[in-house]
């Protein structure tokens, strides 16, 4: 009985690996860490994105783009120095990809390195995990938005606050 249950669960897990459509893009972990915030902060304030903490390690992990598949990344550097615990809202370094649908996927807060440049790649490093911008510690902020509205559905069911993250871990699926 136990074996049957395990088999069923394994089969369901394997099915979950199959993308819903050919156009869908899986998002993997940007570094090793854990999920520290999702749609709402613990305070109840709306956040609408995935925060992946780095266990306090700053300028240590490479910040890898999370989208699986080759896409063009526009990298904006607003802070050149090493900042681990925030230097004010709007000063975050950003890597973003604009989809044809008008949605934009963003990754924030990394520290500038020689890799921080615009390019087309499949999961490449754009900096080191840090805390530039509005941040209380080193982490990666992953957000999908359009005309000021954040999509909170892409990561639902894939991660929860406290989930351990590696670069092999699926954080969500964009379509």
């Amino acid at each position: 009985m136990r074996s049957t249950l395990k088999t069923s669960l394994a089969a369901l897990a394997a099915l979950a690996l199959i993308p819903a459509s050919a156009a869908a893009h899986t998002v993997k972990g940007t570094h090793t860490g854990s999920v520290t915030a999702l749609t709402y902060y613990s305070s109840g304030t709306f956040h609408g994105a995935v925060d992946i903490g780095a266990g306090g390690r700053c300028n240590y992990w490479g910040a890898e783009t999370g989208v699986v598949g080759s896409v063009y990344w526009a990298v904006t550097i607003r802070t050149s120095g090493v900042v681990c615990n925030g230097n004010g809202s709007g000063n975050q370094n950003e890597a973003r990809h604009a989809w044809q649908s008008g949605w934009t996927f963003r990754q924030w807060h990394f520290i500038k390195t020689a890799d921080s440049r615009n390019r087309t790649c499949d999961r490449c490093q754009v900096g080191n995990i840090g805390g530039t911008g509005n941040s209380t510690g080193p982490h990666a902020h992953l957000q999908q938005d359009k005309l000021g509205t954040k999509n909170t559905s892409w990561y639902k069911g894939y991660v929860s606050v406290g989930s351990a993250v590696t670069r092999a871990k699926t954080i969500g699926v964009l379509d």
């Binding site: 394997a14 080759s70 896409v71 063009y72 989809w99 044809q100 087309t120 999961r123």
Partner: protein, 331 residues
């Protein structure tokens, strides 16, 4: 490396279990009682290729896609020399495409930036058109437009129509899916290839499916020169493409299109001209459309529809297109 292989085999085992509901009940029971035995093995290009060869006989497109993904993901850790060697020796187009995709994946993951060059060289030089087409497919939806120089200008002049069409598909899909139509150099590469092609069907297909909102002035010039093509489909596609050029090139494009309308005989091209003039001018195009309306009575209703839609004050091109469609569907 052995860890990757064990996890790979485990993943394949899980995937295999998903087909269990298709088996008879008795078979399901025995399968669930005895989970598949995992066996450690050395991970190699040859081993993965053997798995793919077996997978090709499964008849399942999903399973084949899964194996292809598996090879691409594993490519980063595969020995580079072995992979290149296997690719250069492979003569089966299907297997060559898989190996080329693995090499391209190494390039895209920045594990080996030169790996794509090997694939591009074979796309240019292999004697078998099926291999040339397969290697082009392997470069689809990647950064190949930026990394392969004039590859696409040469591939759209290939002797094989299949290869020319695969090159066109890459140009279209890369611009749409990798760059979302927002990267000028990629759109410029596509326009240059379209202009270089000797196959009107390829030129028309590329231009009909390309976003030109970020193209350079040089590309706009190429599009204008294609307005003089002998092929009506090419002229129509060039007209469509000119309708979407960036703001700083709109005035020149508009003048070229208005001048062309007087000489153009083909009704479909003229219809496309009306649309592009509307797209370039929005409400400001109404006086031009009223002048053009008088030139061709066959297209009076089309010009009237555009004049009415542009007069509605809608500010988004997609909304204008939808409104025009709605007007022309109304009884």
């Amino acid at each position: 490396m052995p860890r990757l292989c064990r996890s790979t085999r485990r993943a394949m085992g899980l995937l295999a279990l998903t087909v269990c509901p298709l088996l008879p009940a008795a078979a399901r029971a025995s399968a669930s009682d005895t989970p598949p035995a995992l066996q450690a093995g050395a991970c190699s290009v040859r081993g993965l290729m053997d798995d793919i060869r077996r997978g090709l006989h499964s008849g399942s497109a999903s399973y084949q896609r899964y194996l292809r993904t598996l090879l691409r993901e594993a490519a980063v850790t595969l020995p580079d020399a072995e992979l290149r060697d296997a690719f250069s020796r492979e003569t089966d187009p299907v297997m060559a495409e898989h190996l080329a995709a693995a090499l391209v994946a190494r390039s895209e993951r920045e594990a080996d930036l030169q790996a794509m060059d090997v694939v591009a060289q074979r796309a240019l030089q292999d004697a078998d058109p099926a291999i040339r087409a397969a290697t082009l497919r392997a470069m689809r939806r990647t950064s190949a437009l930026e990394r392969t120089g004039d590859l696409y200008e040469r591939m759209v002049r290939d002797d094989s129509p299949l290869v020319r069409q695969e090159a066109a598909t890459n140009l279209i899909e890369d611009n749409a899916r990798v760059y979302a139509g927002q990267y000028g150099p990629a759109a410029d590469t596509a326009v240059a290839a379209a202009a270089a092609s000797t196959d009107p069907a390829v030129t028309a297909r590329i231009l009909d499916n390309l976003s030109t909102e970020k193209v350079s002035a040089e590309s706009t010039g190429r599009l204008v020169s294609l307005l003089r093509s002998d092929d009506a489909n090419v002229r129509k596609a060039a007209v469509n493409a000119l309708g979407g050029v960036p703001a700083e090139q709109m005035q020149g494009a508009r003048e070229s299109l208005l001048a062309m309308y007087r000489e153009e005989k083909d009704a479909n091209v003229r219809k496309a001209l009306l649309q592009s003039v509307a797209q370039l001018g929005f409400q400001g195009a109404i006086p031009d459309l009223q002048r053009l309306r008088a030139m061709d009575p066959r297209l009076a209703s089309e010009a009237d529809a555009w004049i009415q839609v542009l007069g509605s004050g809608l500010q988004e091109w997609s909304l204008l297109l939808r409104e025009k469609q709605r007007l022309q569907q109304a009884p």
